[in-house]
């Protein structure tokens, strides 16, 4: 860790994030293995496609847990849009798509991240709900079960695509972002560029945690 870095996430956030990410990835891969005959071989290392089914179903339990913590921990910060600044940000696409002289300053999460959060939350709930019915379909009218398969597939379309957007913007698309989820410490210029409002808020409230600076505030805690 370098002096002057600022803490963006605490360890609980990072653990929850990676639990969700890893379980989601395993679900995507094992799901793909069952979705496409040409990918059936993904089950081979585990002893066949049936093992993939068990892996999928058991991982789903971890996913449910991780999603629960994700939503309860972030919905206040990432699930609520603040007007008008979020709208202004959306109007200029956050400066991601074309040149914008002055991108509106955002807090801890920008509207793009908020949308991502909402898709993950809503999509995740839809996947859990439809998946549970697919797992126990025998006493439910076939019409409804079929609909669940459709929802599960539609949810996958959204989540799979969003996964790559997230991967891109969390790494090469926005250099400096990745440490926020790895070590939790980010650089001040990055924070100023990406979440200027949040930086100001933390400074005002004295909650800013700067590496190597002993005293930051009464609320501050070192990770």
């Amino acid at each position: 860790m370098r002096k002057g870095l600022i803490q963006a996430t605490d360890s609980f956030e990072r653990i929850v994030h990676w639990s969700l990410a890893v379980s989601c990835l395993i679900l995507c891969l094992s799901g793909l293995g069952m979705m496409f005959h040409s990918l059936n071989f993904l089950g081979e290392p585990f002893g066949g496609l049936k093992s993939l089914k068990y892996i999928h179903n058991i991982t789903a339990l971890f996913f449910i847990l991780a999603l629960f913590f994700t939503v309860s921990m972030w919905w206040k910060e990432a699930g609520v849009f603040v007007f008008p600044e979020d709208l202004d940000w959306i109007k200029c696409a956050g400066g991601y798509l074309w040149h914008v002289d002055k991108v509106p300053e955002v807090g801890k999460y920008n509207p793009g991240q908020k949308m991502f959060f909402l898709v993950v939350a809503a999509g995740g709930v839809a996947m859990i709900f439809s998946g549970l019915i697919m797992l126990f379909p025998l006493h439910i009218p076939a019409m409804i079960v079929r609909l669940m398969y459709l929802i599960h597939a539609a949810g996958f379309v959204a989540i799979f695509a969003f996964f790559f957007i997230h991967l891109y913007l969390g790494t090469v698309g926005s250099p400096g972002s990745l440490p926020a989820m790895l070590t939790g410490w980010v650089s001040r210029p990055w924070l100023k560029k990406q979440h200027a409002k949040w930086l100001k808020e933390m400074e005002e409230h004295g909650t800013l945690v700067v590496y190597g600076e002993e005293k930051s505030s009464s609320h501050g805690h070192h990770g």
Partner: protein, 264 residues
């Protein structure tokens, strides 16, 4: 190979259930103790170990007399088989005589076929975590024998033969019967390989869909969503790449002084 069809002429069926038993015997499926439900139909429904079943049904005729309907239920061996379309493991497959086979070693017990089948045929067994259904005695047909049920039927209600001939035979028989008699099976799901000659209108028979089809949700799921998932992901990856080389990543503004050399 030529396509084959099993024709069930319900007007000739006496409800003896010889076919039901022959099926159990050939496929070595044990019987299960059942309870009397106030009908001769037994067992009450298709089961993981009962792949064909005579459905008993009482209807009232115009003159007030009671009539008994017997219909041998079981897999229809659809040409456009919804079960094959959804089966993730390839356990369900179309055989070279047009029937739908089931390779139980491959079945992973996901039950997707159960909700997809428009005829409500596949049955799940918890003990083996697999699904079961009639395979039209594929092993017998390959050995040049007719299906066990057709062999056992004492009245000639079940016959088996080359597809074109059986369809001809079915229409001739329906014409002979006259009245409400009709042929069931050649007009939907691409044509089934189990067909009926029904002497009542199709809607009269319990558990028999009037115009079955591959469910719309199955088509949307398999033909639209499945390719779309790859397309969307591919589009996003391509889009990200284009974004990177055209617009470029979003970099922090360099501040004079301390942070420059870091190059995060």
């Amino acid at each position: 190979m030529a396509e084959y069809v099993k024709l069930i002429d319900v007007s000739k069926c006496t409800g003896c259930r010889g076919c039901q038993l022959a099926c159990k015997q050939w496929n070595a499926q044990p019987a299960k103790q059942t309870e009397n439900h106030g009908t001769y139909q037994n067992p009450p429904d298709l089961q993981a170990n009962t792949w064909t079943l005579i459905r008993f049904q009482e209807i009232e005729e115009k003159d007030g007399k009671l009539k008994w309907l017997f219909r041998k239920d079981g897999c229809m061996h659809c040409t456009d088989a919804a079960c094959v379309k959804v089966c993730p493991s390839g356990a369900l497959y179309v055989t070279d005589i047009g029937t739908v086979g089931l390779n139980r070693d491959l079945c992973i017990g996901c039950k997707e076929c159960i909700s997809a089948c428009p005829f409500d045929i596949p049955r799940y067994d918890r003990k083996t975590d697999k699904v079961y259904k009639c395979d039209l005695c594929l092993s017998r047909i390959k050995a040049d024998l007719i299906p066990a049920c057709a062999k056992a039927c004492p009245t000639g209600a079940i016959t088996f033969g080359e597809k074109g001939k059986m369809i001809e035979k079915a229409y001739a028989r329906a014409k002979e019967l006259g009245g409400d008699a009709s042929v069931y099976g050649d007009k939907f799901v691409g044509g089934t390989h189990v067909m009926y000659v029904l002497d009542e209108k199709p809607g009269v028979y319990e558990h028999l869909p009037k115009s079955p089809s591959v469910p719309l949700s199955v088509i949307l799921w398999k033909d639209i969503m499945k390719p779309l998932s790859l397309l969307a992901a591919g589009g996003v990856i391509a889009g990200s790449f284009l974004h990177y080389i055209i617009h470029g990543p979003k970099l922090p503004d360099e501040e004079t002084g301390q942070e420059q050399k870091g190059g995060e």
